[in-house]
Symmetry: D2
Subunit: 242 residues, 4 copies
């Protein structure tokens, strides 16, 4: 397809530009038969102990197992990427592409679940009017009530996915978003502060198709202490960017 | 479908829990016939003046127009969301859902293009071995050369999409990612530092299907000064999170 | 964006080419204020009475309601499409596009559910070695057992989606496919003969995350009489195409 | 995760049910170290010779090469699927799943391109008012002109994808559909009769972002003789189904 000689020349040219600056020779690792991109990481699943009575024990146990499965697959994908062929990659069929797709899928699944478990199931859920969370939601949505209305709408709009309140580093404000599955329609440059799982596995055992009942229930047990810490980080990120 | 009375009760209960804390009454806006979520923002397109000779003037002009189109649609979507019905939302067919989908699509398209135009077309492209960019890529990919190899592989793997180096706030390291279109397979909690457009509109006029030639060319003109500023922000974000 | 005069000229030219053949004048409907594309159709949900004991009554009822919901949304989408603006359409944000997306989503959801309900829950499930179904699966998969192995693998591979055996009008053979959600990764030019729902709502109430147990159970109650009729149609379609 | 013993029992039970009917023993292939699903097929690319002057020679050549690339990848995917592990499949990360995804992507890409090349570039394009194509489009869209308006709207709505007129075996009528990329938002049970490529690679070299000019041009050169043959098949399929 592509003229091999042209490609080789172009590649040498990129490398040469950098070599002239005495950069690459010094730093390039000795590679023999295979590449080693130091990518592999080993994520460890937290064991969550959800006290909420709005979800059955079976749902909780099963959800924890799903979470651990995602982490296992993330670690495996990462390990396989470490030595995947990066020379013969194309958008239609290549192992590297498939692995990168699975990496994002499992990465998002694992960390979204972590964020979700952390911010639900607070039996003493309470938001204070002088908390940063409250003030920021009021500032960016008009009122706490309007944020809540918008967030619930996002929960009901997801097609087996997620609703999130995120700090948008591009818009420099908090915004609600809808994600399908784990990685479709994801806003770039965003830091999640409130996360709700809207996959059927979150609620079907206990609420069947009544996602509304599940969501309204969960909203009453949001852990605003955990969320407050996230808003503090998000606000500092906002200050860095301006 | 859902028992209307149950739903009403649940909703009142959420609101009541909050009202008891004297929070909602005070802050809830008077709403009459329609909701006003203060969401609308008005993004303004920058006019980029790309000096690169690796892209034709026609490609540059057309790309600038596409960019401005995305911003126009983002603004329109945002304005429409401001008054969209949030009461009757479902995952299968509702205006709110469609608008949120288009919001993310155009948001990502607009800001990814901005990041891309800013970090290409530097005729004096040079990366210094003592820059933060260089040191972080060496730290997280093993060597600059290995980062480059991985990044180019991502460029070739995207199906009409994007390759990005991002700072991952979950993995606490820099990582390369592949995005299809503008919003599929997007890593959550990520801050982009290097962005390459791999849609066919970026290169087809000038390189036809030879995406490799386009990518190798662009790599030689990355604006490492712009990128360095992003790494500085990313590193500070990293420090906040730990 | 586009040169309006050029566009107008091109459009007139298409119409003119056809008018010269005395075609359009005669047939074009008088349109005044709005377009009327005769698209709207009214699908009617069948009431399925599943006798299987592998699914709880609650799962069955809830599933029937989901099915009826998809049909309702399909009908609504179709009605709205009838008068949707077709003049100002773009790929980034337009009502026509959103409606066409929802049309496909709900169309597939409605008919896939219909096909699924019809071909499961046969308490006297039996496949005869001299049935067309059996012979075709043996021909195209090597053996009935190998088809079954491949089909089950498809059931386990779907990400909240569907597994199907279809007659492929392009490959001129039966093939198994994996669909995510209702409309992603769908093979074109295919006629479904065996359909298995692998969304979490199919099994989570009764099997939690154990999709395998659900799938193995369902396989034992496939309604091979219903499936046989589909193979007969598929085979006739195959004969037409060759 | 899943109770291995339970799984084994369920699996034996499925097999046993079938063995009791003396079916499986007789037909199951001897398998030793690996599975052989007779899936592999070898598609051969046609060499299209497009005479249209609405597309440059460079666009035509490049498009033919893309087409051949899809067929090559389809054949490779199919060959790899033949021996892929079907025992350890999951929805999050497994080779079988990745291969099935790539199979559908390349299958659709290959056959959609074939259908497209066949039905464009007729310098003597002419549709007769007594052709089946014309009568069916009038019947199902109200008029030929309304079909055209709807089809063009679909062409402009696709996000790097396809517009198609298909015979829907579920709705028992012709309908226009919008596909993103090659396999997203694809209507099930559909037989394509008119196909337009709306990826940027179809038009960007010659029309830049002016997709409208490209589409209007292509509409004037549709090969109605080729399309007529497809309508004849579609109509016969319709007769089979009723």
């Amino acid at each position: 397809m592509i003229d091999k000689k042209l490609e080789e020349l172009l590649k040498q040219s990129v490398t040469k530009t950098l070599q002239e600056k005495n950069v690459l020779n010094k730093y390039t690792q000795v590679k023999e038969n295979k590449q080693v991109i130091k990518e592999a990481y080993v994520a460890q699943p937290t064991k969550f102990d959800l006290r909420t009575e709005l979800l059955s024990e079976k749902t909780k146990t099963s959800h924890q197992e799903l979470f651990e499965g995602y982490i296992k697959e993330l670690n495996e994908t990462s390990a396989q990427l470490d030595t995947a062929d990066r020379e013969n990659v194309n958008p239609n069929h290549s192992t590297f592409r498939s692995l990168k797709m699975d990496e994002t899928h499992n990465h998002n699944a694992a960390f979204l679940h972590g964020l979700y478990f952390q911010n639900i199931s607070d039996l003493n859920s309470e938001i204070s009017a002088d908390s940063l969370s409250f003030m920021r939601l009021e500032r960016d949505f008009g009122s706490f009530d309007l944020w809540q209305e918008d967030f619930i709408a996002c929960c009901l709009a997801a097609r087996n996915g997620w609703a999130m309140t995120v700090y948008s580093m591009t818009l420099k404000r908090y915004i609600n978003t809808v994600v399908d599955l784990h990685d479709e329609h994801v806003l770039i440059s965003a830091y999640p502060v409130i996360v709700m799982d809207c996959w059927e596995h979150s609620y079907y055992k206990d609420y069947l198709k009544n996602r509304k009942a599940y969501v309204y229930g969960m909203m009453k047990e949001l852990n605003w202490d955990v969320i407050e810490e996230r808003f503090k980080v998000a606000d500092k990120i906002g200050a860095l960017i301006k």
